[in-house]
């Protein structure tokens, strides 16, 4: 009896700029001629997951990142949103609140991913978001990629929620920061999961930094609790790749991307023999 080919999934967790480490991981696997059967991404990880699933090379994906995630996307403050925070009556505070205007981000997402949909990907792709009102995890698998990405990266307080099919969605990290469960459900036998801890603001000097700090603590605790559960209970092989960074990498430290990729490569290389053994067994 011929053994069924093992299905390999890559899961890239929430982690903003640090998610670029997935490109390092990918380079190593491409060199070893190991290919994925599906890709799952959450928040920052969604950008890389999508780039890979569409068939961009690791180098092209690194280029895409520079266009997508840089200081320019945060340049435009949402003054109306900020004003509404302390004069909610006059400036109509509502659930579309954000600190940053999403115009520049949307423009860049469209530049890179155009009108492409999930049907255009070469590999099955799943992107994680969170239902703003119920907090439930939502795995997106069809429709416009730009829409799905915009929803998946809607970091609380920074970007506003994004509506898809009448449902308001925010950052997948609020429900499922490292969505290995999606890969399990979709029948993966081997799951390579790359996860990250959220960074803390270096100094708390305003209400918004305070809120952001608490948010990071919560995300990290959710990440650990969630991963512990899936790791303990399920039977797929989950290989965790947690790159080591010798310095804090903040939300928009894009100049660190080459270093981040290198660390991702190192972390993957350390586990490579094990992955190969699993594939041969």
């Amino acid at each position: 009896m011929a053994t069924r080919k093992k299905k390999i999934a890559l899961v890239i967790g929430a982690g903003s700029v640090k998610c670029a480490a997935a490109l390092g991981l990918w380079k190593v696997l491409v060199q070893e001629d190991i290919h994925f059967d599906m890709i799952v991404g959450c928040s920052g990880g969604s950008l890389y997951a999508t780039s890979m699933a569409l068939g961009f090379t690791p180098d092209e994906s690194a280029e895409n990142t520079k266009k997508l995630w840089n200081q320019a996307v945060t340049e435009k403050r949402n003054w109306r949103g900020l004003a509404s925070a302390f004069l909610p009556g006059i400036f109509k505070f509502n659930d579309q609140f954000s600190m940053i205007d999403d115009g520049p981000m949307l423009k860049r997402l469209r530049m890179v991913f155009e009108e492409k949909t999930f049907a255009d990907t070469k590999l099955p792709l799943y992107l994680m978001a969170t239902d703003l009102y119920t907090g439930e995890a939502v795995a997106m698998h069809e429709g416009s990629l730009v829409d799905a990405l915009r929803a998946s990266i809607a970091i609380p307080y920074i970007w506003s929620a994004w509506t898809i099919n009448g449902r308001q969605l925010v950052d997948g990290g609020a429900a499922n920061p490292l969505p290995v469960d999606v890969a399990i459900r979709e029948g993966a036998d081997i799951i390579i999961a790359m996860g990250f801890q959220s960074p803390f603001p270096s100094k708390i000097k305003s209400v918004s930094r305070y809120a952001f700090h608490i948010n990071s603590l919560l995300t990290n605790n959710l990440y650990q609790a969630n991963f512990a559960f899936h790791n303990a209970v399920h039977h797929a092989e989950i290989i965790s790749i947690f790159p080591d960074f010798d310095r804090p990498i903040k939300l928009f430290d894009t100049h660190e991307i080459p270093y981040v990729i290198e660390q991702g490569e190192k972390a993957m290389r350390a586990q490579l023999d094990y992955v190969k053994r699993l594939l041969e067994s």
Binding site: F86, G135, A175, A211, A225
Partner: protein, 281 residues
């Protein structure tokens, strides 16, 4: 040797935590005496009350005195000046002056320490900078509760020794893990999901909404993990409140306690069976 040691774990949930008094009533009526109490956030108040042996009727009166609307004084004006940048907001800041709350807690717990309880008491808080779980099992009960209920941004974090501590719900909203680690065999866990918002009409509505979403997801993940992996009997007591109860809605307290008692009663036969060591298999 304490075989089948019963513990009561009371999760975070503001005024809803008073439902644990219903559980306590139901247990004592059957002569079931817990050997340990664990509390988090609002639940820490009731874990301490139960461990100190305060009678349910007296505890109900204490609850009515504890949660009144004046504990929120100054909230709106503080928020406005913090958001407009008039006042700096640091890790020592809060939107509510904790005086009223602190004095009320002090009138209940005074100088009592963990060594005054009739059985072991453990209170969970979160280390402010790292988000790690801190279990407090000695010292002044008042300090431990004050740290555990330090709702992010609303109340300032609380220093115990060298550690700055904040709301236990940031790391472990329903700390059954503490009961397991302390050797419980049977765990009656009273847990609550935090209320989420239907409308987001202010900055704090957004922050409390996001905090609730995260805490609820952490609650589900940790509960799923410990329920799946450990061998202690975990009995979730989830009171049904029919209609939503606001976090500080004191008029509902008698109803809350009654619902807690009702929820507990359903599980009493099973707890009794476990405690008398009857093989239920």
């Amino acid at each position: 040797m304490h075989k089948n040691r019963l513990s009561v774990v009371i999760g975070s949930g503001g005024v809803l935590c008073a439902a644990s008094l219903g559980l306590s009533k139901a247990l004592s009526r059957e002569g079931l005496i817990p050997g340990m109490a664990v509390g988090c956030s609002g639940g820490s108040i009731y874990a301490a009350i139960i461990a100190l042996g305060i009678e349910p009727d007296e505890a109900e009166q204490l609850t009515l005195n504890l949660f009144t609307s004046d504990v929120f004084e100054g909230y709106t004006s503080n928020l406005k000046s913090a958001l407009s940048g008039e006042t700096r907001f640091t890790e020592a800041s809060s939107l509510i002056d904790d005086n009223i709350m602190y004095e009320r807690l002090k009138s209940v717990f005074g100088e009592k320490s963990f060594s005054d309880t009739s059985f072991p008491l453990h209170i969970v808080a979160t280390e402010f900078y790292t988000g790690e779980r801190v279990v407090i099992s000695s010292g002044k009960i008042l300090d431990a509760i004050r740290a555990s209920i330090a709702i992010p941004m609303i109340f300032s974090p609380w220093k115990i020794g060298e550690q700055l501590l904040v709301d236990g719900a940031v790391c472990d909203p329903l700390p059954i893990d503490v009961a397991i680690q302390q050797g419980s065999d049977v765990i009656a866990a009273v847990g609550f999901e935090m209320p989420t918002r239907k409308r987001m009409n202010s900055y704090t509505a957004v922050t409390t909404h996001f905090n609730s979403i995260y805490m609820n997801n952490i609650l589900k993940s940790t509960f799923a993990f410990y329920n799946a992996v450990h061998h202690a009997e975990i009995i979730p007591i989830l009171p049904d409140f029919e209609k939503p109860v606001g976090t500080f809605d004191t008029s509902q307290i008698p109803h809350i306690i009654a619902q807690g008692e009702k929820a507990a009663e359903q599980h009493i036969p099973y707890i009794k069976q476990l405690m008398t060591g009857i093989d239920i298999a």
